[in-house]
Amino acid sequence: MTEDSILTDEMRSVVGKEGEPQTIEVDRSAIRWFARAVGHTDLIFYDENYAKSKGHRGLVAPPGFLGHAIHTPQNPTNIVGNSIKRPPAIPGLGLMRLLNGGTEFEYYGEDICGGDVLKSVTKIADLRERTGALGKMLILTTEANLYNKEGKLVATERGTGIMY
């Protein structure tokens, strides 16, 4: 660690910690908007009867769509990035610019469908410092696990954020 490190021990102490659980709604209209924005052509993302005819419980959430957190003015959702993630706060972190470094989705064989209500729990998996083209950067890796009503893990979203 160099003298002018921007990563403190206090910041490092949150690695491995989980944020508050959030309720995630997988809304049918949101599924269609997501599918439209991507340009999906498979009707399982648009037409519930068609999706059922293909053996699904309902309208299917497209790859990369896990729903949205419930926003209230008292409990606002993140509008820069992904609302399903709520990692614990990083103490002493100043205001920095943010870039998305990468995303991974993992599924466990369960359909995620319109009308589902999921619980998401986000952990800080890693926090490290790197010096790159943009100067000193913090590389934050988060892992959001999504559980269905029965408490079964249905998806994991891992993300890398670059703060500079």
Partner: protein
């Protein structure tokens, strides 16, 4: 969507059908609404310039979702995505062609599943890979 692809029909080194995208700024706004990511660098030119960017840029997560579509369209009704990822290494901008591609790197059978691994990526004209990643999928068997 194409005909169903089966495990027996694919080989290491095969390329899956390409998916070509060319984002409009309107598509980026639709994505902002669909995903919930309202970061201004994706629709406000002045804000983007103030952040040292050449202009508005395509959301990383949208490129990830394009790769999800690439896999979904290839997998058909009976295939399944287990895992897919990409890193955002280069910027893509509206009005620029973005080609989503995938090549099979491994085939195996584990726990009754027909597992196929792929390298997936988005590239610009000229070949620069702006979002390289990996995928693990399950394919049905003809058997």
């Amino acid at each position: 969507m194409a005909d169903q692809v089966y495990f027996e029909d694919v080989n290491v080194g095969d390329e899956i059908p390409k998916l070509v995208k060319n984002c409009t700024t309107q598509q980026l706004v639709m994505w902002a609404a669909g995903s919930g990511d309202m970061y201004q660098i994706h629709y406000d030119k002045d804000f983007a310039a103030g952040n040292g960017l050449p202009g508005v840029i395509v959301h990383g997560a949208l490129k990830n979702a394009f790769l999800g579509q690439l896999l979904h369209d290839w997998l058909g009704d009976k295939g399944q995505i287990k895992k897919y990822s990409c890193q955002y290494r280069g910027m893509d901008v509206p009005g620029q062609e973005m080609i989503c591609r995938g090549v099979i790197t491994e085939k195996s059978q584990e726990g009754g599943k027909n597992v196929v691994q792929l390298d997936i990526w988005t590239e610009k004209e000229g070949g620069e890979k702006t979002s390289p990643g990996k995928a693990t999928v399950y394919l049905p068997s003809r058997g």
